[in-house]
Symmetry: D2
Subunit: 256 residues, 4 copies
Amino acid sequence: MLIAGPCSITDKTQAFKIARFVKKQGATCFRGGLYKGQNHPIVNGKPEYLGIGNDGLIILQKIQEEVGLPCVCDAQTIEQASNILISDIEYLMIGARNMDNLALLRSVRKLYDNFKCSRKIILKRGPSATIDEWIGAAEHLGGPDRVILCERGTVHFDRTPKTRWRLDFVGVAQVKTYYPNYKVLIDPSHGSGDRNLVYNLSKAGLSIADGLMVEVHYDPDSSPTDANQTIDFNEFKKVVTLYKETTNGRKYQNKH
Amino acid sequence: MLIAGPCSITDKTQAFKIARFVKKQGATCFRGGLYKGQNHPIVNGKPEYLGIGNDGLIILQKIQEEVGLPCVCDAQTIEQASNILISDIEYLMIGARNMDNLALLRSVRKLYDNFKCSRKIILKRGPSATIDEWIGAAEHLGGPDRVILCERGTVHFDRTPKTRWRLDFVGVAQVKTYYPNYKVLIDPSHGSGDRNLVYNLSKAGLSIADGLMVEVHYDPDSSPTDANQTIDFNEFKKVVTLYKETTNGRKYQNKH
Amino acid sequence: MLIAGPCSITDKTQAFKIARFVKKQGATCFRGGLYKGQNHPIVNGKPEYLGIGNDGLIILQKIQEEVGLPCVCDAQTIEQASNILISDIEYLMIGARNMDNLALLRSVRKLYDNFKCSRKIILKRGPSATIDEWIGAAEHLGGPDRVILCERGTVHFDRTPKTRWRLDFVGVAQVKTYYPNYKVLIDPSHGSGDRNLVYNLSKAGLSIADGLMVEVHYDPDSSPTDANQTIDFNEFKKVVTLYKETTNGRKYQNKH
Amino acid sequence: MLIAGPCSITDKTQAFKIARFVKKQGATCFRGGLYKGQNHPIVNGKPEYLGIGNDGLIILQKIQEEVGLPCVCDAQTIEQASNILISDIEYLMIGARNMDNLALLRSVRKLYDNFKCSRKIILKRGPSATIDEWIGAAEHLGGPDRVILCERGTVHFDRTPKTRWRLDFVGVAQVKTYYPNYKVLIDPSHGSGDRNLVYNLSKAGLSIADGLMVEVHYDPDSSPTDANQTIDFNEFKKVVTLYKETTNGRKYQNKH
């Protein structure tokens, strides 16, 4: 899997422009966040950025239909999860900050069980979760038949102005070795906080993980969220080249 | 404040026995969890322990009325928070795993604003939250007029079989110095995982924080949750002696 | 023990001025570093600050004789350790960066054994050492009859521009509980990096540890090293007041 | 570079057997430790294992001459460093525990400067060192013309019985991006503590780093040190296959 797209969907034009580009290059899924929030309710004197919300659901639907890319969208509440499911968006994502939110995990599981839904859920690792805790959260959602894991960095003592979290490749290797039924992706955007590192981390990630999730924007600096870690179109082309050299990428090319 | 009680309320007899004891010794609040969960849905072949749930609300109500101790109870969902508020339980607590759950923080804030509720909310620090992120979460709930902070340990490289988290006293000192409008408690039970360390950490905690939250049980080993970190009645007496030597404790004694 | 003094001794006047002041207030030992160094060999275009070196040995000798305060000085090599021992400086200190330097620990042990030296060695905890590794290092030096431990902060994910390390009070409590033969000090200066936090951390430290080591200067901002974490004379007076309220401090006052 | 060999050299037969095997497979250097030590001076009632010491220097010399593999050996003291240099062993290594040992770094630099020695020094990253501190240590030794960096894992909150340290691939990417003059190796043995993870981490490592250092033994369980993280001959063959698929490996094959 090569999942690409902006951190936040800001409007239909932005979303389609990015979706069409990443599709053309060879991405297999489109990501775009609808429900956002910031550490403080007031940031630089303005209310926190909350995202486009439910208005974005139809944008993602149309990207699936018109661009032909299955979409990934994360939910922080069961209402948002229901909306995503009802809107036929292919992949629900549970973000890192909610990996420990057992109430959400349990109600999402019930939702999927009740609808006999066979779609996959992408579960990010919490920034302070051990591998055992991460697997436990995946079991709360229904286990390896339903869950795709995504490593997005854990807390670490070495911080730079950009780097809040660091990808844990040992953790990925532990999943591949000790929990081989799970697929695991790597998110080099959150996992470094620094767009200059995304290419190299994608390279290392693709060599052992089952895919990548990467934040891409035609004008990264204009992103309302995660600007520092979002790569531009040129850099994304290089990441796609890496992807196409991997087994997954080769299979994907053969099919398309 | 000296908040004491079991990790989980298992039945009325257990709760009253502990509440009466800690009240008699000098505790100022009673704690007891109703809504629980474990890392894995199945633990040692059995479904995870989920807590007594809503049935415990009336137990806490009666402890407030009959024992005369205000109670603390944590919520993981807005429904649980509403139940706690409607049941007139004095303190709502947001646990460490939900400090990052912005959706919950925002809906609890609305709940309290709508009811013009002047009660306090205890907000635990997330195990990977910086002080800035913790303060941000407190602002999401309404700031220092509504929120009492509680440090309960963060992740650390030095782990023993018992110790999963370590109390961060530098963080407490930062709150006292840079955010002096906030009250901050220390939870030496979660913050060490080890009942043998609770006394010494209570001593250090009482010297700089505004109070303690500590897990107490007449038979700690029988606790369904947090057994290792729960102290018995004798050990609690020693913690109370410490508390009574502090300024807060002296004020409390004068009033009683 | 209340050990106080500058991070680095820069000249005789500076050292005596601080030693006389801290002695008068009630400190029981004087600290002052002779052998320094920085992370990079060139810092802001200038060679790293290396400290006054062996020339400071006689200053410390004279402070012991004329001011009447036993001195603490750290060594990074066996030659420096020998010089400190031969100069009759009371306490040799092994700094955090050398706790893992087994070759140094072994040769210092031989030196002390060969001289049948009964003086104490202060061993700081390495910034990434577990309690077990710290105790192991103390055993390499000769165990609790020879070694006084000093907690000075470990690495942590929550960093501010000042705070590189955070005091680990759980670690101190573990030493007091599981290794009761060891004395353990707290260094709130290195353990917070922030002079505004030293008073509160001293308070918490004195409540459970056997003493304090604190960096003091009449003009902290002029210190060539550790300026941010060095307190001034007024702040030190407040720390002494705390110390005198503790058991150790009361014993000290009775003797003087 | 593909550096392979046992953690500790125990005797000539062991060293030659491993050296001949790894040479035949395609390793470009042989590693073998002579100077060892353990966290505690007494381990399970016996004195700590100290390694073969200076007696091993001639073994390494002969491996260079007779097997034709340049050797790597780490020093903890300047005397050991001199012995290694005088014995014509190609690579001196400074281990993780000594990255912060500025006195050692400075005296090694002088040694190399005085001898106008153009050999390379391998500098491991300390387990709590930031990238900036690691680069600073490299500058103390003489900078990128003399130093090859080796990432071997840093402390992390997620520990298993085997895993004490975790490889930091973000750190490696930072070196490649921000300090491109440095070569950087990855050590998946120390960086995971678990031989079952070495293959996958080697794969990720080879994709972005300049080489690997890996612990290999014909009977890993018999190693006096690092047994858990040492791979056997079969597993090493798989690592070599990875290596030969990389650019470095292809260059190496063309030359041989």
